[in-house]
Amino acid sequence: MKRGPLARIILAIFFVALVVSPLFIKRMAARREVAKSRLDLQTALERHGFYLQEVSHAAGVNFVHQGPTLDHKLDHIMPEVASMGASVSIVDFDRDGWPDIYVTNSAEGSHNALYRNQHDGTFKDVAPQMGIADVNKPGTGVSMAAVWGDYDNDGYEDLLLVKWGRPELYHNDGGHGFTRVADTGLPAWVNANSAIWLDYDGDGLLDIFIGGYYSEDLDLWHLNNTHIMPESFEYAKNGGRKYLFHNLGNGKFEDITEKMGISSRRWTLATSAADLRGTGRPDLFVANDYGVSELYFNDGRRFREVGEKTGVGFAPKSGMNVAFGDIGNQGKYAIYVSNISEEGVLIQGNNLWVPKEGSAGDELKYENLARDMGVELGGWSFGAQFADLNNDGTLDLYLTNGNVSLDHTRNYWYDFSKVAGGNTAIIGDAKNWPAMEGRSLSGYQQKRVWINDGAGKFVDVAQAVGVTDTYDGRSVTMADLWNRGVLDVVVANQRGPLLIYKNTVAPENKWIEFELIGTNSNRSAIGAQVTVFWNGQRQVQEVSGGSGFCAQNQRALHFGLGKTSQVDKAVIRWPSGKMQTIEKPNVDEIHKVTEPA
C-alpha cells in the first residue's frame, strides 16, 4: 500500500465502526423498546388515550379453539399444515342494535359459537339453538372463516361459512334461527380460508368471492398421497382456485370467475374489497401465501389484475391479511398486508401500501411505507385491523401474530428454512418435510398495537395498554360491543381462547358512528362509503363484507374525532351511486341512516 500507517489506522477505525454499526442500530432500537414496557392503566390512559382489558371470562365467553387434525400422513407436520381455522366475525344477527360474535372451531365434530349480546356486559352462546353450532361434522370439512351479508335483502344478516370442506350458506330466519340453503350453486368442496361479500356490479344483490388455499381437489382427511404442499415458497401457483359468484337473486349463485377475468391459483389467505379508485365499484385485493399479492381493478364487466403495475404484486411474500384504512385522513386508503419476519431467518416485513402522491384512477401506484411508518415488523403476522382505538381522529393498527407455540425451547425454523429453499420436487411433498416433534415455529409472540401519531408514524403500545397475551393469534375484529362509542377488540386464537379486549378511552375524545341500511343498494350497505369532515380534516371509511384475516368487523362505521365537538358534515356514497350529505351530525352518537329512495 502506498499510504502510511496513519491512513491505515483511520481506515481500520472506520472499518470497525462500520462492522459494529448494526449493533449500534440494535441498541437504539432497544432503547425505543423501553417505551413499550407495561404501564398501569391510568398512566396508559393519560399517555396513550386508552387501555384494553381482557374480559372474556367476565363476559361469559369461555371459547377455546380446537385445531383440525388432518390425514395421518401429515402427522409429522400437523401443527404447521393445520395451523388455521380460528376466526371471528361480528354481526347483529337479531337486529337488537347490539353486536354479537360468531367464532369458528376447526376440529371434526367441534361446535362453532354464536355469542348473543345480553346488553349487560355479557354474552351467551346461542349457536346450538340457532342451528349454526354443529357445522363441523365429519365428511363436511371444518370451519375456517365466516362472513355475514344479507344476500336476499330481507333485513337479516345471513351467514357464509367457508371451510376446508363444503362451503355453506345459512339463511337467517328473522333472527330466530338459521337454515342451510340447498342448491346455492356454491362448489361442493373448497379448501379456503378467505371469503367476502361484495356487490361487484352494483345491482343491489350481494355477491361472493372465495379464495382457495389448498387445492379444492384435496380431501385433507383422505389423501391419496402427500403431494399437497406449495411447489415453491415464493412462486407457488398450485393452490386452490378462486371463485366469484354472482347473486342471481333467488338464493342461487352463478360461478362467473373465469368470465370476469380471475384465474389465479395462488395460495390465498386473505381478501378484501374497497373502491380504491373512486369509480363507485369495489376493487379486490387478494393476499397470497407463498407468492405475490394480487390487485384486481373492477372495470364493471371484468376484473383486471394490476398487482405488478400498481406495485403491490412485485415482491413475493407470505400475505395473510388485507385491511384498508385512511391512515393519513386524506380520503384514500392504505392497505395493510401481513407477512412473516423471524429474526435470523426470514425478514419479509409487513407491507403498508400507501397510494403514491399524484397517482390516481387507472394510474394508481402504491409504495410500501411500512418501515418508514413503523409497522413493518410483527413476527409471524396474521390478522390486523385499522381502528381508531383512542378516538383521537386517526386510525391505529392492531396486529395479532404467532404461528405455532409448542415447546418453548426448541424451534422448527432451521428445518423449515432448509426445505423451503429446496426444489419443487422436495418442497411440494409433505413427506420430505422433517418432523416437527413438538417444536415451535414462531410461537409465543408479542402482539402489536400501533397508535398513529397523525404525523406519519405508528408507535407500538401493546404492552403499555394491556395487550400482553402471546397466543397464536389469527383473526382480529373491531366492534363497539357495548355501544359506548369505543372500539373493543376481539381476537380468535388458534388452539387458544377467544379474547375480548374491552376498551376504555379518555372521555374527552369524541366519536361518531354510522349504521347504514341500504334500500336501492344491498341492505347490508356493503360497499357504502362515509366521509366525515371535521376540524379541517376528513376521513373515509367503507362498509366491508370481510377484511383482515378470516374476519369481519362490526357493520357500523366508527370515527374518532379527537377533542372536536362538532362535525361539519358526513357524506355518504351508497353502492347504488346515490350521494347523501348529513350536515352537522351530532357527535358521540350512533346515527342510523337509511338510503334515501
Binding site: 502506498k2 481506515l11 462500520l18 448494526p22 412462486y235 431467518v345 425478514i347 428445518d415 429446496g422 426444489n423
Partner: protein
C-alpha cells in the same frame, strides 16, 4: 466473490473479449443469472436495493484503491461483490445493502496478511451482517421458483465456465462433499434425506458454489490445498447444520477460508526460510 485473474493472451482483443479466460466472464455470468432470475421470477425485491449494493461496492473500491494504491482499480471484482450482496441478502431496509457492500470491500483493504486479503469480501460482509443484524436482514434462501429448469441451466452454464477457469474441481468436490455429508446428517438425525439435500437445490448455493468458494484471490494456490479446504468447508458446514445453524455455508467458509490461507502462508514462509537456510549453508 471476486473476478478471476487471467493471464495475457497473444490474441486479438475481440477474441480475448469473447474468450472464457476474460476477467469479465464472471461478472457477465452473475449478471445473466440475475437477469434470468428476475425476468423469469422477479427475484429482485427492488431494483434500487440491488443498485445501491452495486454502487456502494464500486464506489468504495474506487475510493480505497485510488487512495491506498494510487490507481484506478478494475471494477469487475467490486461489481461481483455488489451484485452478490444485492442478491444474497434480503432486507426491507436499504441500509444493510449499503453497509454490507462497504464492509465487504473495505475488508479487502484492512484484513490483509502479507499483502493479501484473506477473506472473500462478500462472504465476510454477508457473514458479519447475518451475525450482527439478524433482526434486520436474512439471506436469500427461497427464491427463483424452486423449479428444476432454471436450476439446471445455471448449473450447466456455471459448470462450463468454472471448468474453463480451471476451478471446477473446487465446485465439484464441494457438491460431492455436501451430498455425502447430507446423507450422513440424514442418517444421524433420522430426518428425510430429501430435506438434507434441499438447500443445495436452491439459488443461494449456486452463487455460493460458483462465485464464493472459487474466488481465486481468497483460495489457496495448490490444487491439493484447494481440495482439502473445500472438504473442510463442507465438513464444518455439516457440523454447523447439526447444530441447526441456518447460514452454515457462509459461516463455514468464513472460518475455513482464511484459516487455509494462513496455513498456506505459514507453510510458504517455512519453505522460504528453509530454502534461505539451504542457500546460506
Amino acid at each position: 466473490m471476486s473476478a478471476s485473474a487471467a493471464g495475457p493472451l497473444e490474441v486479438p482483443q475481440w477474441k480475448r473479449f469473447v474468450s472464457l479466460e476474460n476477467r469479465y466472464i464472471a461478472p457477465i455470468f452473475i449478471t445473466v443469472i440475475l437477469l434470468a432470475g428476475h425476468l423469469s421470477f422477479g427475484i429482485l425485491e427492488s431494483y434500487q436495493k440491488t443498485l445501491l449494493a452495486i454502487a456502494a461496492s464500486i464506489g468504495t473500491e474506487l475510493i480505497l484503491s485510488r487512495f491506498f494504491f494510487g490507481k484506478w482499480p478494475n471494477l469487475a471484482s467490486a461489481y461481483i461483490t455488489g451484485i452478490s450482496v444485492g442478491i444474497l441478502i434480503r432486507s426491507p431496509a436499504f441500509w444493510p445493502y449499503a453497509v454490507c457492500s462497504i464492509v465487504s470491500i473495505t475488508s479487502k483493504y484492512v484484513l490483509r496478511v502479507k499483502g493479501r486479503h484473506i477473506w472473500n469480501p462478500s462472504n465476510f460482509g454477508i457473514s458479519v451482517m447475518l451475525f450482527l443484524a439478524p433482526e434486520t436482514l436474512a439471506s436469500l434462501s427461497i427464491q427463483w421458483g424452486n423449479y428444476l429448469l432454471p436450476m439446471v441451466v445455471i448449473w450447466v452454464l456455471g459448470s462450463v465456465i468454472i471448468y474453463r477457469l480451471k476451478r471446477f474441481h473446487i465446485s465439484g468436490l464441494y457438491v460431492a462433499s455436501f451430498l455425502v455429508f447430507a446423507f450422513l446428517r440424514s442418517w444421524l438425525t433420522g430426518g428425510p434425506w430429501q430435506a438434507e439435500i434441499a438447500p443445495i437445490t436452491g439459488p443461494m448455493y449456486q452463487l455460493f458454489i460458483f462465485f464464493m468458494i472459487t474466488d481465486p484471490r481468497t483460495t489457496v494456490r495448490s490444487k491439493t490445498g484447494q481440495c482439502v479446504t473445500v472438504i473442510c468447508v463442507a465438513l464444518l458446514e455439516m457440523v454447523l447444520r447439526l447444530h441447526q445453524v441456518v447460514y452454515a455455508p457462509f459461516y463455514a467458509l468464513f472460518i475455513v477460508g482464511p484459516s487455509a490461507m494462513l496455513i498456506e502462508m505459514w507453510l510458504d514462509s517455512r519453505r522460504a526460510s528453509a530454502a534461505g537456510a539451504t542457500v546460506a549453508a
